[in-house]
Symmetry: C2
Subunit: 190 residues, 2 copies
DNA sequence: GGCGTAAGTAATCATTCAATGCCTTCCAAG
DNA sequence: CTTGGAAGGCATTGAATGATTACTTACGCC
């Protein structure tokens, strides 16, 4: 039997569990029961906290993508950051690869992006993408440069979702792509 | 009541319907019943044809991504194609934007890529990615150039999945990103 | 023209899933 | 001590869903 907990603390705990669960299965592929078991709580309780599975997912998605946006913002808004420097792009990229330590965030983002089945998820995804684009834009880079940066991020997400890093030894093509997509960060990915 | 049809023809028809259905909802978010209704056929019949929902999805995914690969191959293997030309990248990009006419192919690819929940889907996704990467590589471009090209494709997929083209007028950031992601092709996207 | 095989469906089943309602238990204030 | 509110589980339910089985109907071939 779990000890009692303040509602806010429990809510936070369930959110973390849901992030893990949704990162694996996406919205449709994850049951509230799975989230509940992951959180060590009864299934009806998780839907009671969030009202609806959709609302839970939206909250997980929103907070995950905001976390990602913040990681960029921290670099971009740093006064010592020089967007015109030779390695500026690499520097911002580091902020992203640092997120690889918690793959769940990126996977949740990915699932939200491709979960366009529900209009509400698609809307939230657009808002998230807009926020991230705006943040990277603050570097002053050209729109094409920003686009290339964001696109590279999407490739990383996809490669991560298909578990490419864990299977580089099975396919030389995947190995080559993973090498130039993840760069030095590849070695840290299992 | 529908007229009888040869098994192969019916199979093809169901595959097309399934492509439409899966493009919308992804693997987990699409029921075999939905596919059946889309195909104008009974639900037990579609699972009888393909044995299992997973096998159906894998076949839809495989054929969709092969179609995409072929679109690239047609350009790359064309003897008149000059990979060192100034507009070579744009030329190959055209092969991709041409696929936008049938958004379903790209959406199915997207869902397969992010559907890493099932190991079998993830494996198929890696194989698909490997094939596409290998094809674009045949241009002789550097791996980094190929990576950038593929990454741009992923961004297009994501933007499409979140229905960005239909909502450019709601968010200036999305509008800017869509403008430089889709280029001239944007006007043809509703 | 009848017969065998293939095309297709209706009925049904066992699960799974999201959601609701009611009950229990703990803690804090009076 | 007791009482009330909040934390949280339990039982349940109705709808979906994937899959199986048995049955029916059309068509090609002799």
């Amino acid at each position: 039997m779990n000890t009692r907990m303040s509602a806010d603390d429990r809510r936070e705990l369930v959110l973390q569990a849901a992030t893990r669960a949704f990162a694996q299965g996406g919205y449709a592929g994850t049951s509230t029961d799975k989230v509940a078991r992951e959180a060590g709580v009864s299934q009806p309780y998780v839907v009671r906290i969030f009202g609806t599975k959709l609302e839970l997912f939206l909250e997980v998605f929103e907070r995950s993508t905001l976390r990602i946006r913040d990681a960029f913002a921290e670099v971009v808004d740093d006064p010592t950051f020089d967007p015109t420097a030779e390695d500026a792009r690499e520097q911002l990229g580091l902020a992203y690869t640092a997120l690889l330590a918690d793959r769940d965030l990126l996977q949740v983002m990915m699932h939200g992006f491709s979960g366009g089945g529900h209009e509400e998820i698609a809307r939230s995804a657009r808002a998230c993408m807009a926020r991230i684009f705006e943040t990277v834009r603050r570097t002053g880079w050209s729109d094409d440069e920003v686009r290339d940066f964001v696109a590279h991020g999407m490739l990383i997400n996809v490669m991560l979702a298909m578990r490419a890093p864990e299977h580089v030894d099975e396919d030389p093509q995947i190995a080559a792509l993973a090498a130039c997509a993840f760069g030095d960060a590849l070695e840290f990915l299992t």
